[in-house]
Amino acid sequence: MKDFEDKWHEATEVARQVEPAPIPEPPHGFAGRIVARAKEFEQSMPGWFIAFERFLFRFAGGVALAVVIAGGLQLSDYLAPPSLVPTVEHTVVERFLLL
């Protein structure tokens, strides 16, 4: 017995046999309009802006990577067992309290 999927494939097979509508020629002046608009767009974005945009993307990527690494280090510090040796901050605070 055929299930839905088999019948769906059968329908797509039958539908594929229908001649597709012919592809019309591009409208008159279409290519010229595209080229003019593409140039207009290119001129509206100066070269320095494109270079700056690329730099910005790389910089953002670098910052994201640094954040991930710092987060990882922070997490490993947090998960590590507490040290028995008092940290520098503790000794400084203790000495301050003794004064």
Partner: protein, 198 residues
């Protein structure tokens, strides 16, 4: 009759990069059938073919420097990817999906729907045009991503790898999406057919 000279894509691209307007126009005319074919398979309801084609070509020209010949992908393939993702964005931008009812179907479309959802296998209908119309209506009930994957996989018979290349999704994501989309398609068909029997 004179033999047609094959289009030299590499030479044309080199001239486009040098700022040759004539070469840019030739490129648009050469790629027009490919772009229109893709648009027709995924066209959002409220958008004209020409508007979408214009958006695709403008993206192609503005991102031309992102295309790398040495990666081995032919330029039309890269353009197809731009076209497919632009269509997907346009589909996602549609606020509402159409709600087709059994009453909206033509006689032969209803015949196909009954055949597809019936437990017993009757003799299959043969009207290709009706099959295509019904498929379009059922696909329109799916989300843009699901619709795209089924269209490419089942209707256009593209391979999973091709779809992965076109959409930028991984092969396993394509397979999972297709599996889920077919399930939703089946539910949509059964729901529509059940309405007809009320």
């Amino acid at each position: 009759m004179a033999d047609e000279v094959p289009f030299d894509m590499a030479a044309c691209l080199a001239r486009v990069r040098q700022g040759d307007d004539g070469a840019s126009r030739d490129l648009v005319e050469e790629l027009w059938p490919l772009v229109i074919k893709i648009i027709r398979s995924h066209l959002p309801r409220r958008m004209g073919e020409e508007d979408l084609a214009q958006e695709i070509f403008l993206k192609v020209f503005s991102r031309m420097d992102q295309y790398r010949e040495r990666e081995g992908k032919p330029f039309p393939h890269w353009v197809s990817r731009v076209a497919v993702t632009t269509c997907l964005d346009a589909l996602r931008a549609e606020k509402r999906r159409p709600e087709w009812r059994f009453a909206d179907l033509g006689g032969e479309e209803a015949h196909w729907l009954e055949y597809m959802t019936a437990a017993q296998s009757d003799e299959s209908p043969t009207d290709g045009l009706a099959a295509r119309e019904l498929m379009t209506k059922l696909l329109q009930t799916l989300s843009p991503d699901d619709r795209l994957v089924i269209n490419l996989l089942d209707v256009e018979q593209r391979s999973v790898q091709e779809i992965a290349d076109l959409t930028g999704w991984g092969a396993s994501k394509v397979k999972v999406k297709a599996f889920r989309a077919r399930k939703k398609l089946r539910n949509a068909a059964e729901q529509m057919n059940a309405e007809g029997k009320l």
